[in-house]
Structure formats: structure tokens, C-alpha cells
């Protein structure tokens, strides 16, 4: 039960965003500055604790030179867990 919860939390984390940000050598604070939000907001999106609006998703994708699919698309099996 506990393992399932850990797995669920891990899957909810937006690791794609974290890796894209790291790939551009940006800190959370720098990405936050680029898209006009607080560092905490970027941290919470990466941790899966906050679902951003489509507008903010687009701003993040533009800042990281990625598409929405690259950063925010989840396979159906992941969504259902």
C-alpha cells in the first residue's frame, strides 16, 4: 500500500519539466523569472502539487523551447493510477 502511494507520488511529479529545465541549465528561480511566476510555483509544478493553467504551460514550454507534449503530456495509464 505504502509502495503504491510512493509510486503514485513519483508518477505525479513532473520529471519532464525538471529534466528540460536542467537541460537548459536553468534554476527554478531563473525559469520562474522567465515566465513571470514565483520560484515556489515552478517547484510545486515539478512536484506535482499544482496544476498550471494552459497559459502558464505554454509560457513554460516557450521558455524551454519545448512543446506541450514534451513537458505535460502523460500516457493514459499514468493518468489512471
Amino acid at each position: 500500500m505504502r509502495n503504491l502511494k510512493c509510486e503514485e507520488e513519483w508518477r505525479l511529479k513532473n520529471l519532464k519539466l525538471k529534466s528540460a529545465r536542467a537541460g537548459m541549465d536553468l534554476s527554478q528561480a531563473e525559469l520562474a523569472e522567465l515566465v513571470g511566476v514565483t520560484r515556489q510555483t515552478i517547484g510545486m509544478i515539478e512536484a506535482g502539487k499544482f496544476n498550471p493553467s494552459l497559459r502558464l504551460c505554454l509560457d513554460i514550454c516557450r521558455a524551454l523551447h519545448k512543446t506541450l507534449d514534451d513537458i505535460f503530456w502523460e500516457e493514459e495509464q499514468d493518468e489512471n493510477i
Binding site: 513571470g36 511566476v37 514565483t38 515556489q40 510555483t41 510545486m44 498550471p52 493553467s53 502558464l56
Partner: protein, 158 residues
């Protein structure tokens, strides 16, 4: 140098969290104010003018909320406009008013016979239930009409 500006400086997450806090506090104050008015009127036997200020604030909150929700085509978090929800809420209102009437009568010593209590409680209960039902039916009909209008407004053009 500008010392103060009305420009929003919070991002969408901060704004959402602030609105959530304000939402919970609004409803807490709303029910606390209602309880406060009821306690003063029913238990402490206050005259209306003693609670007039609180009543005015309460009605402002209630009427403002209803107007705002109706304008947006919203009815309720947990039910859709329809006779079932009107009936459920009318019965809840009737039972609440019956309880309050009975309590008020007992505290005030208004009932000399049990038949007095039954008559007063049943009549006020039915009255409250019918009034609530009519108001909800009116609001529900308006919400349906408003939703249809909003749907037409944002309907895709072929």
C-alpha cells in the same frame, strides 16, 4: 517613485491559494454571522434593531452571492436545478424553521398547550418549505435560461 500600485503582483498559483483561503473564510463568517443573529434573537431575546447591522451585512453577503452565482449560471456544488433538489432543500429549510420555531416558542413560553406548538411549528414549516421551493424553482429556471444564453453566446460558428 511610485509607492503603491494596484497592478497584480501574484502569480496564478498564489492567487488561487489566496482565493481558496478567502472562500473558506467567507463561508465561515457567513454561517458564524447567521448563528450569531439566531442566538441573539432566539436565546438572548434581542430586538431586531439590536441585530439590524449584522442582519444587513448577512443579507448583503447572501444577496450578493446569489446574484453573482445566477449571473454566471451556477446553481449548487452538489446538485443540478430540478424538482429533486428543490424538494430536498425545501424539506431541509422546512425542518430547520420548524426546529427554530419550536425552540423559540419553548424559550419564550408561547405554547400553553401542545396543540399550540404543533400548529405553530407545522404552519411555519409548511410556509418556509413552500417559500424556499418557489425561490429555488425561480432560481433554477433562471439558471437554466442563463446557461442556455451563455452556451449560445460561445457557440462555435460554422
Amino acid at each position: 517613485m511610485r509607492i503603491f500600485s494596484w497592478k497584480k503582483v501574484v502569480d496564478e498559483r498564489e492567487e488561487m491559494e489566496m482565493m481558496r483561503v478567502e472562500h473558506y473564510m467567507f463561508w465561515f463568517v457567513f454561517w458564524a454571522l447567521l448563528i450569531s443573529i439566531l442566538v441573539q434573537v432566539l436565546v438572548m431575546k434581542a430586538d431586531f434593531y439590536q441585530v439590524a447591522g449584522e442582519w444587513a451585512v448577512f443579507m448583503l453577503m447572501a444577496v450578493g452571492t446569489v446574484i453573482g452565482e445566477l449571473k454566471g449560471g451556477h446553481f449548487d456544488y452538489t446538485s443540478r436545478p430540478g424538482w429533486k433538489s428543490y424538494l430536498v432543500y425545501s424539506v431541509v429549510a422546512a425542518i430547520s424553521v420548524m426546529g427554530l420555531t419550536l425552540f423559540r416558542g419553548i424559550i419564550g413560553g408561547y405554547y400553553h398547550h401542545s396543540s399550540d406548538a404543533v400548529l405553530a411549528v407545522v404552519i411555519t414549516g409548511i410556509f418556509a418549505g413552500v417559500i424556499t421551493g418557489i425561490c429555488l424553482a425561480g432560481a433554477g429556471t433562471f439558471v437554466k435560461h442563463r446557461r442556455k444564453k451563455l452556451e449560445e453566446e460561445f457557440e462555435e460558428e460554422d
